[in-house]
């Protein structure tokens, strides 16, 4: 298969952004309007910026990017067409949310947040369906959507926590009174852990036998397991805001992302089509 670096970047970035939005939705549901708008600004700017990076990566994959405006012409049959529309709708909602938070300096509109979550869900679903091609048996099985969902949850939760560390200095964010948000880091960590479990299922479960024989397959779960352990140590054993917590989480993020990149490269290298 030809070089797929742009697709590795596009799929990973979009899935991580969707996952971070899902985490934001979860935190929003728990804490409501108490969330400090500044915290949301950093999260949304980070999410929107990465989405734009993903869109540039997707364009880099095309032979004729100038014709990409035609990409919505086959919504009736093509999952790729639907994915492109879903990504653009998701990016549009993120842009509106980000603009409103900056202009009004208030918390996020609940309906926009829900819209972003649903649009993000559509992105991950259509992205998985693009790879469920009947003539590509190494992709056309339940392991593909399960691993995509797992990646979204794991790396998305890590991205959400990373943006908290980088811009707010806390792992969990604060409300408008400066009080820590209720259950934010614990709930987000649980989301990430769920993603790791799903990826284990997708990698080891019999329906994914097509890549079961590769020895390098063990590198991704090992790296990401170490990442999750470091993450748990950072947020449960050290107070948020301490440099030790930050360093531990940065190491965790490095392990998680490197494992994800390895897994995604293997996914594309696993392409095998029936016939000639």
């Amino acid at each position: 298969m030809y070089s797929h670096w742009s697709l590795v970047l596009f799929t990973l970035v979009l899935q991580s952004v969707v996952g971070s939005i899902w985490c934001m939705q979860a935190v929003f549901l728990i804490n409501g309007d108490r969330i400090d708008p500044l915290y949301l600004k950093y999260q949304l700017v980070g999410a929107l910026g990465l989405t734009l990076v993903g869109l540039v990566a997707a364009m880099a994959h095309l032979g004729t990017p100038g014709s990409s405006f035609n990409a919505a012409r086959n919504l009736r049959h093509s999952w790729l067409s639907r994915e492109i529309v879903a990504v653009n709708v998701f990016a549009g909602i993120l842009a509106i949310m980000t603009a409103l938070v900056f202009v009004t300096s208030t918390s996020v509109n609940i309906w926009l947040m829900l819209g972003a979550s649903l649009a993000g869900t559509t992105v991950v679903y259509t992205m998985a369906r693009v790879y469920l091609v009947k003539t590509v048996p190494t992709w056309n099985h339940a392991g593909t959507p399960v691993t995509f969902l797992g990646s979204t949850l794991l790396v998305g939760a890590a991205l959400f926590t990373l943006l908290s560390y980088l811009f707010v200095g806390l792992s969990q964010g604060v409300d408008q009174n400066g009080e820590p948000l209720a259950g934010a880091y614990g709930v987000v960590f649980t989301i990430g852990l769920t993603g790791l479990i799903l990826k284990f299922l997708a990698t080891w479960y019999p329906f994914n036998k097509s890549i079961a024989a590769e020895p390098v397959k063990r590198l991704q779960p090992v790296l990401q397991s170490i990442g999750v352990v470091l993450w748990a140590t950072a947020i449960f054993f050290f107070p948020p805001g301490q440099s030790v917590s930050s360093v531990l989480f940065m190491m965790a993020a490095a392990f998680l992302v490197s494992g994800e990149i390895i897994h995604r490269i293997r996914f594309y290298n696993n392409y095998t089509r029936v016939g000639l």
């Binding site: 030809y2 049959h77 790729l80 067409s81 003539t135």
Partner: protein, 212 residues
């Protein structure tokens, strides 16, 4: 476009095909295809072995045959289904073509087609494929590959509503199962032809079919 042949179909008699690749060269010449672009490909499929017998004799089941394949202009073209821009389209004559003005070169059709029919042209950044020599058909002439075949193994027919089986078409390895895309092409099998799922043989000339 009105064609003399309403629903053209390639017919290949695998028993007769010698693998000379004249059809492949004729296609490249007629369409000015650059190196690496192969709208028609000739696949050599072979296998078998020699076995030493207890009485110091040998038994062999060696086989080899050639299959010339281009786009099969399928009844359920997966390239048309997956193409996001609608560049891959099928006209009323069943011919699948690519509208280069719409194609953005995502190569999704290349991922999906089990016959490697869509070919990416790097200099244009777009996909290209066999178009059944529509211009030749309109003029009442056969496609370049059919016209050039020295043994008449490759010929032009018209789709029979009663089904391709009536033409003696039997899916043969290394071609994929017809169920994937319902190809509109007739492959009359070689006497040593293997079923589609057979692992008895291998493609002996992969470098002549795609850049490896």
């Amino acid at each position: 476009m009105e064609l003399p042949v309403k629903r053209p179909v390639f017919i290949l008699d695998v028993q007769i095909c010698t693998g000379c690749k004249t059809c492949m060269v004729a296609c490249k010449d007629k369409n000015d295809l650059e190196a690496g672009i192969r709208w028609r490909r000739v696949v050599e499929y072979c296998g078998g072995e020699w076995l030493a017998m207890p009485d110091n004799t040998f038994r062999q089941d060696i086989f080899a045959y050639y299959i010339s394949v281009s786009c099969n202009h399928c009844a359920s073209p997966i390239c048309v289904e997956v193409c996001p821009t609608g560049a891959m389209n099928q006209n009323k004559n069943g011919i699948v073509t690519v509208d280069e003005s719409r194609c953005m070169g995502c190569r999704y059709c290349e991922w999906a087609c089990p016959y490697s029919a869509p070919q990416y042209q790097a200099d244009k950044g777009r996909m290209s494929k066999c178009d059944f020599c529509c211009d030749e058909l309109e003029a009442g002439r056969p496609p370049a590959c059919v016209a050039s075949c020295p043994t008449r193994a490759l010929s032009l027919g018209e789709f029979d509503e009663s089904g391709l089986e009536s033409e003696g078409s039997i899916p043969t390895a290394p071609l994929p199962d017809d169920a994937f895309t319902a190809p509109h092409a007739v492959f009359k099998p070689h006497k040593m032809g293997k079923p589609v799922d057979s692992k008895a043989g291998f493609i002996a000339n992969p470098e002549e079919n795609k850049d490896v």
